[in-house]
Symmetry: C2
Subunit: 245 residues, 2 copies
């Protein structure tokens, strides 16, 4: 294959969404872990549900709404400040440690992000983590007012970069995003951050489980949606090897 | 309001989806509880994702795929027989104890089901539980090849029953389904089976939680999707009071 562009999912792929856990724990002692998991689960549910309902609101709204839902469900009272401090972290998520080096190694191919994030959220995040110096484009699904895995979202890659689907390597750690990209016709690399062995081992004792284990069980293993990735790697650092190989 | 038809969601509303837990535990000792929760969570995710991907497969396929996913993630090996025994339960789910009496009390209004279920699944379930004697129609989203909460799904009510949206009381225990029905323009009653107080109480200890608690936290509390129900009741038996009141 002749890959002209490598396009990355942002949340969970280049950026560690679990890195909000420290801020949530600080704001809501004893609840950081469960907030982090329920929030992320609901955030994505809301993107899918709003898309299906034809009631699009951008990812900034969905991110706030899903956090408000989470805190209400857990019975937590809070000041506006605590809420804003947690939300603010979404503009300062931690990059995965190998992200910057992987991007550099993939040049001179075109490099871009395709994300559910709103333009404002993405631009701030990319700037705050200095990826703006490396990326050719930061593409938000907001232009189509529908979220991934709608084909309309993946179509933005070609529209923005001038590439055909088979000239693109799309990279995501999110199994549903892998299926969506593959269903659209992109080459897809899946970053498999939780191995099946580690997953099964975490589920040996199932009467009580860590919220993170439930999150992993429902959102980190390859989905049964009829579309498998072309490449399955453990880390971003393996990507240059795929393209050259 | 002048309600001419009362239309029910099936899974979770008239039928107790948690009633699969005995069969899953019997087939996979020690794992019944976590299988039940992960399976249901993924089953709905797959309806939303397939709808968004424009890769519809009917609910029978989605139900099998989500169970296969669940067993794989948990690292469970199994014989075809065990799998089929669990799937078979979906045709014999338990009715909520007050379902039949509530339907009888709501006559002579038109009574129907609008469900994600495939026609074969729904017809078998309704027949097995003797609701076929009470229902005027069992409507499957399959006719539109898209799942709830797409407006196309709720539109089937008017097409099948000849009712205007404001002549219908739609009843669901699923918060996302309540939002979808309301967004479409129906009158909506939400069966709130888990109170906010009980929910918060279950989440006081959050380091380790029961899989059922995680399920409840993400799928039983009213969602932040911008659409609230017209009526909030605790049980199906309260419905006749709403309509007469």
């Amino acid at each position: 294959m002749s890959i002209k562009a490598v396009v990355f999912d942002a949340y969970g792929t280049l950026y560690d969404i679990q890195s909000v856990a420290e801020v949530t724990e600080d704001a809501f002692p004893g609840y950081g872990e469960i907030i982090t998991q329920v929030w992320r689960i609901k955030q994505l549910e809301y993107t899918w549900l709003r898309s299906l309902m034809q009631r699009y609101q951008d990812f900034a709204v969905v991110t706030r709404d899903s956090l408000a839902y989470t805190l209400r469900v857990l019975g937590l009272d809070y000041e506006k400040d605590a809420f804003e401090r947690v939300i603010e972290k979404y503009l300062h998520l931690d990059l995965y440690p190998d992200a910057t080096a992987a991007l550099i190694a993939l040049r001179p191919r075109k490099l871009a992000i395709l994300s559910n994030g709103s333009p404002d959220m993405l631009n701030a995040l990319v700037r705050n983590t200095k990826l703006d110096r490396l990326l050719d484009a930061t593409i938000s699904v907001d232009a189509k007012r529908i979220f991934k895995p709608s084909p309309a979202a993946y179509q933005l890659i070609g529209e923005e970069l001038g590439t055909a689907p088979d000239e693109v390597l799309f990279v995501s750690s999110n199994p549903w995003d892998v299926a969506g990209g593959k269903s659209f016709g992109l080459n897809v690399a899946w970053i498999e951050r939780v191995t099946p062995e580690a997953m099964a081992l975490a589920c040996v004792e199932t009467e009580l489980v860590a919220p993170l284990t439930m999150f992993k069980a429902i959102r980190t293993q390859m989905d049964e949606l009829g579309f498998a990735p072309d490449h399955r790697v453990r880390a971003l650092s393996e990507l240059p090897g795929i393209i050259q190989g």
